[in-house]
Amino acid sequence: MTTSAIAVTGLRKTFKDRTVLDGVDLDVGSGTVFSLLGPNGAGKTTTVNLLTTLLRADGGTARVAGHDLETEAKAVRAAIGVTGQFAAVDELLTGQENLQLMVDLHGASAGDGRRRVTELLERFELTEFAQKPASTYSGGMRRKLDLAMTLVGDPRIVFLDEPTTGLDPRSRRTMWSIIRELVADGVTIFLTTQYLEEADQLADRIAVLDQGRIVAQGTPDELKRQLPGTHIRLRFAGTAELDAAAQVLADATRDDDGLTLRVPGDGGTASLRALLDRLDEYSLTADELSVHTPDLDDVFLALTGHTTEATK
């Protein structure tokens, strides 16, 4: 196992009388993607704000890039980059000026700085719009510019707070591929998201945050394993057909309301063919057949007792 980029124990934060984080433990391996998953209001942004020194914790300890959050905030800041939920770009400046501003604040030499700006504009496909004010950018372009600004200082740990919320599917894919490139360069990513698919796609490890507590932690596969496996779902026209099929397929679980049978199986063609042959043998037909692979939505439902949709 790699060393820890972020190690958190017992992190607590209370606003007035509302406990937002109630003893969070996290461990993020260096060079990995860690995703904090949860619905709105779960405490994701608060966690990011604490770990990026923007807020002070009420309890617990945290080390980021090997530095104590409380006593070595300056060293932490030097190692991290943050792209928040709302694009923190300067609307009145052009894309290029926004990047140049970051270069100036980091204090690179003039030549290096210019090169870095050009390189980032190209990498994020913003060269064409470099001379346009950021206020004219689309949501996706703004996020890209925001992330580009974050990368000016070559951070080793990048915090992305809901980087794709509100983006169209295409911009979301672009953001994902940018994140993957960062990981390829050895950057550690701390990603928060309310999209389960996003965590599944990008993360090495996922922690599920619900009402200020981590309710589960593990690799996407580990989390999925906590659920009933892949199964085939058959829907029948009526109760008679359902009864007949249930007798033939003894290991299936029946759902009378939905007129469906859930047959365990891996979704491969061989098991599917065997199932269909068996139905044929008894002259049974199903109205609909679907192969159901558990996704993280199921995980969330199983872990918290409520879906993510309900709280959106």
Partner: protein, 249 residues
Amino acid sequence: MNTTPHAIVMLRRNFKHIARNPTTVFNAVLMPVIIMLMFVYMFGDAFDVGVDYIDYATPGLVLLAVCYGLGSTATAVNSDMTTGIINRFKVMDVSRSAVLTGHVVASLLTNVIAVAVLLGVAFLLGFGPSASALDWLGVAGMVVLLGFSTGWLTIALGLAAKSPETAGLASVPLVMLPFFSSAIVPADTMGPGLAQFAQYQPFTPIIETMRGLLAGTPSAGDAILAVGWCVAIALAGYLWAAATFTKRA
């Protein structure tokens, strides 16, 4: 390594904002000129102030020009707080003082430009001051001190406001206050109550100081009062701004 101080980087940024926003340029530079033309051409002849009206009104309009530049400062400071860019700066270890100093100096530079333009127009309209070089230096010092102190107060207002819109609104009293001073007409010509208010409000000694300097007859009493007010306003504004900044960001 190029180590441009953060405050300078912030100043450059703020100044770009001001230069790029037509409303800001209009309010800060053109509005005072328009008001000057209005008062001098439309109302000036109706006021009996004992001297050429342009000579009477110019010092007050200089103060007005400073105040008109402040609205955009409040809005700009508030935008920084509400758009999330402040969090970026904080994570980058850009200090509070760099962010706020950038704003106050940008505001001050706008004031200086606006006052220069206004004085240029005043001369075209026949403004004939009898100030010596030293008096002019005093006027310049007064403008800078005024811009600096009201600048800090405005920054505090901008930080305390909930949104850029309310921040703009919060600076309205600063824009209106000059009218209730000796800027446009002498205070003793005003109705009871208002006259006393105009007499004792901070802007009046500041205007009277500049008026005295421009007429070549500086008054030490007004000057001491003016500087005192400016220092007090600057200090209050600074402390309020610093406290609000810590609380908010």
